[in-house]
Symmetry: C2
Subunit: 454 residues, 2 copies
Amino acid sequence: MTDVDYCVIGAGFAGLTAALRLKQAGRSVAVLEARDRLGGRTFTEVRADGSWIDRGGAWVGPGQDRIHALMDEFGVPSYQQYTDGEAIMVVDGKQHRYTGTIPWTMSPWAALNLGAALFELGHMCESVPLDAPWASKQAGRLDQLSLAQWLDDNVLSRPAHDLLETAVAGCYTSAASEVSLLFVLYQMASGGGPNFVLGVKDGAQDARPVGGMGAIYRPMAAEIGDSIHLSQPVRRIEQDTAGVTVCAEELTVRARRAIVAVPLAIASHILYEPMLPVDRSFLHQRMPSGSIIKIAAVYDEPFWRRDGLSGQSAAPGSPATITIDACTDTGRPGILCVIVEGPIARQVGQLDEAERRKTVLGALVERFGDAAGSPVDYVEHNWTVERYSGGGMLSHAPTGVLTQFGHALREPCGRIHWAGTESSAVMCGWVDGAVRSGERVASEVLEHETATVV
Amino acid sequence: MTDVDYCVIGAGFAGLTAALRLKQAGRSVAVLEARDRLGGRTFTEVRADGSWIDRGGAWVGPGQDRIHALMDEFGVPSYQQYTDGEAIMVVDGKQHRYTGTIPWTMSPWAALNLGAALFELGHMCESVPLDAPWASKQAGRLDQLSLAQWLDDNVLSRPAHDLLETAVAGCYTSAASEVSLLFVLYQMASGGGPNFVLGVKDGAQDARPVGGMGAIYRPMAAEIGDSIHLSQPVRRIEQDTAGVTVCAEELTVRARRAIVAVPLAIASHILYEPMLPVDRSFLHQRMPSGSIIKIAAVYDEPFWRRDGLSGQSAAPGSPATITIDACTDTGRPGILCVIVEGPIARQVGQLDEAERRKTVLGALVERFGDAAGSPVDYVEHNWTVERYSGGGMLSHAPTGVLTQFGHALREPCGRIHWAGTESSAVMCGWVDGAVRSGERVASEVLEHETATVV
């Protein structure tokens, strides 16, 4: 039995930030992590040649001030995402090379539809109050619409429709039919709108930390020290009038308060004694994770750059749905990141490993030429089959859930406080949102100390 | 360590039926039930005077052949639900007394809207293939629509809209915005259409077993014998090439195969080793239970019958949303059942017990007169706060879930087989569906024996 001030469940950015801030405030903490590694939904693999691969969350963008503050704190510089050259869009089997946000060459009608839909999404985002998206006048109307229904009603050009479906539903790594429009608008608004979410330069994919996310979470963990316990899935959290007892696989922690910093579907696997309030336990049943496979194909050099390509491509329906240049700051070796999301990720996930690799590389060859077919290394991470991720990237809200249960996203339940990027009103879904949630929850528990003294 | 042929998780009608049929086929079974009682989402309380209260599922109807077969097997007769006299509909604060399905007095326009909507729902039901609702041509279109959106698009009269919302969303004990239209159509079609679902006489509320549901599940359990273990929540199911190991709180069972017969959100609390296939584990994250409080107000006699009332009433928005006569076959004492579902159940659930009772009885007095205010007994059951129910009545599918994951509802995962009313293509959501699922799954595991011998 370990006795500490605060017990943090989950060693992703939310949990590590909470633990770090509490430790810096002179409190003792224990961090229990179910996986055998740090980072949560980020996971940086350092290669023998010193380059690195971000198997999970990778980017930082403007406005993401709290992750930038952490980077400053630990002396981690960032470098710009490579965006020189043309992007590729595959529409009806045809490749279009383009620059900017919208591939005008696909067809003026499609491009106009796409532009109009993005404008309308952006416009609707402005009406969503970030602190309580469920409270706006239009919340009910927007929350009973699925993203798929909205796309069908508003985007008449089929290529534009498919493209938006891939891009927007892709953010939630789910089918467009599964996601509430209100949730989409809220999540986009929390980052500043669709241009930020979908954009690369000046958007959510603007830059990366040198050394990957691990260059941030490793020194954070080092400062927290030996109070982080890996491979300790928490099975049970008991509350009484004096504190909490957190029971992990081989470890029991007694603390004043518990901070749960894991995805909602994972939080539902913990047994709470007494039971959580209904709205919170129902939220656990109702905000699932999606499917994502992230692949890094490593080549001696980024050959696509020579061909005038940025490495960025989108091909709705393809097993290599989205690609983006994922080289380190030195540009060597060449790393091409492939992202497969939602229903296609589950289809591709059913292939055996060799077949999947062949399928994905085949699609890359079609898009980038023969050189793409022979990577020197090939690293794939299927978040869907990670037990303690339960899927990826962020939990989404189906229709009706935000208006019925959204208020429970942040409300503490007695001595249990909730962190995780999904609980952040700003940059919800990004690493920055996770950091913000960790800082919020550290403040929350410290405020309770003061309240007790008074 | 108990060694048996088959291990059944859950002692509701699905699990008990599976265990019974396997025992009758000469196999040994162990049934592990998390609660300290039998019956699952049915729960019959026998009162000191010999009358009984069904705190959960209560009715049987025509076409529900498998529950009727069980009743015949154990010599349990049924009696007709009392339907003499007029029903009450409260619209805009005004009470309308009426007979038949539709309260024509509310307004011809509203009544026409209501009739047309029910007709259209029935019509759409006919196009849904029960064995694979996700496979129909229109499945995608219907599954991306929430029930709320469909009601807004199709029912223009506000009273008719509110009434349908209460009645139909009530079936899923959730807000209409949370439920997929395809799921609604599938569930209704599995019972024969909206007239069956919403109807009393000749519908899903046609009759009740004499002695309540307990008069069926108790003798079933007696025949299964001492292999039923109560208060044994299952924490873990391991599969290997030879069988399964099922670990409950204080008991470990080794068996050839496991049958999981619990609601989907409850199945998600079990740790599966190895992990379940993605589509099944994702289904566990995506089919939540709703909120329901069922109340029995007991009076010396059913005074409403004297007043020419059937006891049936509906009042959208009221804390006593729905009432129905719940007397036993003798008609004494008078038992009035109050059903509160969905968002209102959660609101009412937050009141303290005394306040909730006062609120509910106040609503009954308005509707049935002063006599309703002084019951001799008052029994309430809030399924939402039962840890091992996780809500009630049936799990529903939000938009997009059936088309993406519905196929996993029945597919065995190695040596784990899935029962529960949600897995039944016929009478999905009723006790009869639970019985059917239990019989299906018993056949499934026995067929595997033969396959092994051959």
